[in-house]
């Protein structure tokens, strides 16, 4: 068993990045994934524990021009209660509503949710349909270096991302959605609250001239990583909303889910049930988007 010998809680980003430059620090944010995982033995602390909560400038939700930026340590509660997000990206607020419980939401961060890279992470599908990117920072050659990675390319497998051990996720950024963009989120488990998603679906599209455009669909818990459902998107792109063809549009989109969702059986649900819920949710969110 590894003992923690160094605990750091820096206030400055460069200090934090220097402390983790050797790639050997354990990053602690809300600890709502880290603590249960170390407790159960699923992973071990390294000798250096780095609390990133106190780093100045790593939290907050802001817009600059048409860019929206959510700092990594922003809590799910902050997202849930943010009036600006409620206006410009309500799908994020909706996902935050369905996230865990009050106590967990107060501690859990958006950065932790992304870095934990669970196929069931609830902030991921809505951020995928907002076409978000993550900002990664590290200390190299005596300076802070950052790179921007599209969220879709961030996840590798359960618990694994392309982020290098010496890198810190500093923010998630996305373009302010168009005024006619509508996004919806649905999640389910055997119980509706305090639940790790059995499956989740987020769907967004621009609605103009009675048609769907820029359709983006994302799913959680249907594959080793959260994913963009490209087949469903293709089935919906440009489709009209009129009553005559709508049922057929839904049918095609629902059928396409089989191409994107490849769920598995586990103690929480069977693959069949997960596939079924994806079909039900796609239909439900499509109807909601159209009704909007």
């Amino acid at each position: 068993m590894q003992e923690i010998t160094t605990y750091l809680a820096p206030r400055r980003l460069d200090e934090a990045l220097q402390a983790m430059a050797d790639g050997a620090a354990t990053v602690l944010c809300g600890g709502t994934d880290l603590a249960p995982q170390t407790e159960s033995g699923a992973r071990q602390y390294t000798a250096k524990l780095l609390n990133i909560r106190r780093i100045e400038g790593l939290g907050g939700i802001e817009t600059k021009g048409d860019k929206v930026r959510i700092g990594a340590v922003t809590t799910i509660s902050e997202i849930r209660c943010n009036p600006m997000l409620a206006e410009i990206a309500p799908v994020l607020v909706e996902a935050a509503e369905h996230f865990a419980s009050e106590q967990i939401r107060n501690a859990a961060s958006v950065g932790g949710n992304l870095c934990n890279a669970s196929p069931a992470g609830d902030m991921i599908p809505p951020l995928l349909i907002l076409d978000a990117s993550v900002e990664l920072a590290c200390w190299r050659e005596g300076a802070v270096q950052t790179r921007l990675i599209p969220l879709e390319g961030f996840f590798v497998s359960p618990g694994k991302t392309v982020k290098r051990p010496e890198e810190l996720l500093t923010a998630v950024v996305f373009d302010r959605p168009a005024a006619d963009f509508v996004g919806k989120f649905r999640k389910s488990g055997p119980r509706p609250a305090l639940e790790i998603s059995t499956v989740s679906v987020a769907l967004g599209a621009c609605i103009a001239d009675g048609r769907l455009s820029n359709v983006r669909v994302a799913m959680g818990s249907v594959a080793p990583t959260p994913l963009r459902a490209r087949h469903v998107e293709a089935a919906l792109e440009g489709k009209p909303l009129d009553a005559a063809t709508w049922a057929a549009t839904i049918a095609v989109a629902v059928a396409a889910t089989a191409e994107d969702a490849k769920p598995i059986d586990d103690v929480r649900a069977s693959a069949w049930y997960r596939g079924h819920l994806v079909r039900v949710f796609v239909e439900e969110v499509l109807n909601e988007v159209r009704g909007n």
């Binding site: 068993m1 159960s40 389910s188 488990g189 055997p190 119980r191 509706p192 609250a193 305090l194 639940e195 790790i196 103690v267 929480r268 649900a269 069977s270 069949w272 049930y273 079924h276 819920l277 039900v280 439900e284």
Partner: protein, 776 residues
Amino acid sequence: MTNLNVVGKSVLRQDAYEKVVGGKGFPVNISLPGMLHGKMLRSPYPHARILSIDTSRAEKLPGVKAVMTPKDVPQIIFNPIFFMPADSMAIHRDMLILSDTVRFAGQPVAAVAATTVAIAEQALSLIDVEYEELPAVFDPEDAMKEGAPEIHAGVKNNIRATPSFGAGDVEQGFKEADYVFEGTYETQRVHTCYMEPRVCVSDTDSSGHVTIYSSIAHLFGLRERLAYALGLPVSKVTAIQAPYTGGSFGSKLDLAYIEALSALLSAKTKKPVRLEHTRYEDFICNARHPMKVYLKTGVKKDGTITARYASTLCDTSAYSAHGPEVIMVHAYFGLMLGYRAPHTKWEGTVVYTNNMPGGAFRGYGAPQAAFAVESQIDEICEKLGFDPIEFRLKNTPRQGDPHPFNPEWKLGGYALDQCLTKGAERMGWSNRAKAGSASGTKKRGIGMAAHPIWVSGCVGFPDIYEHSGAIIRLNVDGTAYLSSATMDIGSGQNTTLCQIAAEELGLKFESVRMAPGNTDNLPFDAPTHASRVTYSSGNAVKVAAADAKKNLLEVAAIVMEANAADLEVRDGMITVKGAPAKAMSVADVVKRAESPFMVVGAQGPTPTTLKEKGTIMGISSVAPPANASPAVAEFVEVEVDTETGQVKVLRAVYAHDLGRVVNPAAAQGQVEGGLQQGIGYALMEQMLFDPETGACLTSDFLDYKMPTAVEMPSKIECIFIESNEPTGPYGAKSLSEACLIVPAPAIANAIYNAIGVRFHSLPITPEKILAALGKL
């Protein structure tokens, strides 16, 4: 009974504030100087023989103080159940503290005591065990087949017991019926999920005397079973009563491995030794027995039942433990007694498997039975067009009838009829739509279930303890101490008992305090189980309080120069009936009784009379004269989402005749908690195991789903009917277990009403619903 002052009030629980600020009285917080920490090594195999254990590497680890293997423990075969005599002929003894034969995945094979938990855990990884794997069997039906693995030597086909009983001629009864219904109903293994883990600290002194602190539901049971397993006389074990424990629901009614091992490790190290279960260990230490019930009912055209036949297959798991007892309570009080039939027969089979041990769980076999009985009644009513309320009224007993278990008792206060009719009215039962007639994808339905006959303790049960004791002592400040070995497992037992004592003594509730003790200084008490505490311990407390009051009034009569028979006590004041001006406080009377023989007053020393001297006390050790039956009917409304298969319970109306409500808030809490566990049982909870290794896959709350506040209906209405039971304290009888017996069948019947589909196995998961709707 109109002039009750304390009974019937939602007084504030005495431990409420202390629990909210951390609850230092919970046994999990016990810490003794020099205490060591123990851990158990558990078998990864469900069935194996241990060929060798090498502990040398573990023993060398700094901080390790003792390692224990099967050869270090007494080879005394025991049954762990607390509430029956340790040498009872009615139970089977087949367990050892540590055995060379492993019969379930997770069975302890060795134990360690070390200076820290972390060192103890590390030491476990340094113990080398060589196992010979044996074939295992997990399905009770497979276990009975020829050629199945033999789990206990000499037990043919793994069949532990085959009890049966009946009356009349059941074949004849089915011939007399116009219709015969049959069905098989299956229930799953579920865990109680108490909050406080099983934990204990043992301190064994140099003479071998064991003192033990433990989170259990039966103080004297722990003493007796631990002594038996260690080969000690009971007087060499002292079990210390915790002021309260963090839940039991039946799970803390048997000796756990930790208790015996901590005592042995303490004897070996000469230090106190603490062991605490992880949540995983709690999950695999006991659970509700899964049962398969076949039920056949003969009915006449007019709705009279002519015959009832049932058989039950019970997986008692790797060890006998509760299995042979739980199946009897299941059969009598769950399946057969509630509904009248001239011809009955029941046959049970208790089978060993390589599953984790079965245990006691609120309702002790009755929820499994009620799911069968109450579902089938719904099927009968649906098929023959009877109203389910009318049908039940026709076939159930009434107040004044002989008790169906023992005709020498009467159903003294008994109002099942009111539970049915008042509950139905509140729910709007007459507006119930035809089954499956709801339209749309979110279909609502209402359903109900009743449980006509249940227990208020175990009077009349073979070889189950039932007596209770209490000691009341009055203090010079006018307060009273109540001592009783009854364990408060979180339901507010202490508060209820203090209310009864205060009422009887004529004191304010705040003037009575529970003073915890231990098995050296308390009279025996049966456990906190079987819905018995208010009725049975309450009875003992009332008798002790009456005794103390009699002694109080005798002294008061002397000092007040009145006749004891003319005195009454209320709110701590003693008055002469009819002459309220002549009053004296209880405090002043007790002060006189406790005063020195010469009292120095203004006039100098004055002798007091001898007669009024001494502590005013009352004591009892009694069992109630009967086993009063509560009566219950529950009505629920559900909404079934036919797209996702999810079921929401929208509303519940729970009607229960409990004789007398001693504490309305506590009673409501029992109903809500029972419904919560019932929703879990009906819709989501189930323990799952790896089919190859038998390992538990649902041993944390991520994978074992129980309902949270969010799944609870926003409206839970209680209708408490006070039939005033003649044998109960202030007319009270029982409440607790019935609250969990009825919800699952009520929910299943409501689901039927919503979507027209009947389920014969629990839990009714979304996948089962979708499959039944043809969507799979």
